[in-house]
Amino acid sequence: MRIGVVTFPGSLDDRDAQRAIRLAGATPVALWHGEHDLHGVDALVLPGGFSYGDYLRCGAIASLSPIMAEVIDAANKGMPVLGICNGFQMLTEAHLLEGGLIRNEAGAFICRDQRLRIENTDTAWTNGFTANQEITIPLKNGEGGFIASTDTLARLEGEGRVIARYLDVNPNGSLNEIAGISNARGNVVGLMPHPEHAVEPGFGPDTALAMRSGVDGLAFFTSVIERSLVNA
């Protein structure tokens, strides 16, 4: 399976995402924001960072970049797309996901290992988890407060489209402690914390067993590979 990772000017975690894809067992394909070509990939990751300096709004200018026309088209046809952090912001700006992300409630940039509960295991990116599995992956954002209108929020909750929720603390003031959501079809997922930083022993969050041994993020990437094998 070939999974594309789009690099925008200001992307930070594109190579981490490529590495996570490789460790999960797929082939990462580097894609460039200025092209109109997905190079025949089977799935897409929009990585974290500060695309175009986040100057207009987080992810807003990136959502208007050339390759996003192809990303939106592919997503609407069912291709799995995972937006992480800045990538999640791009997906909301591109109207592939509902709601929006605003400055953290506390006004500060937050960087911590964050416990989450995976609440929907039917999406392309979460089917490898068990229902209500609790995981820990890094969170690092300045504008990660998830907001949506009352109607939208009720619909997301009612349709089980909250895929991950913050545990212990609500780090950024997100409504209903929402850390990630999916579209109705389950192929497009946005997540504020960073699974790609918890995929390899020695480089992940601390666990009870050993320092930096946490690899809870890997299942996001193995999920989409498993899904592609089932559908093949």
């Binding site: 709004r57 807003a60 208007l64 407060g145 907001i147």
Partner: protein, 89 residues
């Protein structure tokens, strides 16, 4: 050269952490007469030609789709800054 101003504010019902931080600073300075602060954005779009109805319609469209995100912000005003007297074109 006319300039069209577009002003965008965070939605009134949303928490505005930027405004809250500024309000906190004013309070610490003893400026207790201000009970709230909200921080928004102002865009100035400059054009060579006249700011006619067609152009303003286009600005309205851009304000709604690019300059603001209606999920989190409202476009609060759009107006034309008249060219400064004596300016040559």
């Amino acid at each position: 050269m006319p300039t069209i101003v577009v002003e965008v504010m965070p939605k009134a019902e949303l928490l505005d952490p930027q405004g809250k931080a500024v309000a906190g600073a004013l309070r610490r300075l003893g400026k207790t007469e201000f009970t709230g602060v909200r921080v928004g954005k102002r865009f100035e779009l400059t054009v060579e030609g006249p700011a006619d109805a067609a152009l303003l319609a286009e600005v309205q469209e851009l304000a709604d789709t690019v300059l603001s995100n209606s999920v989190i912000e409202d476009v609060t005003s759009i107006f034309v800054l008249e060219a400064v007297a004596g300016e040559t074109h």
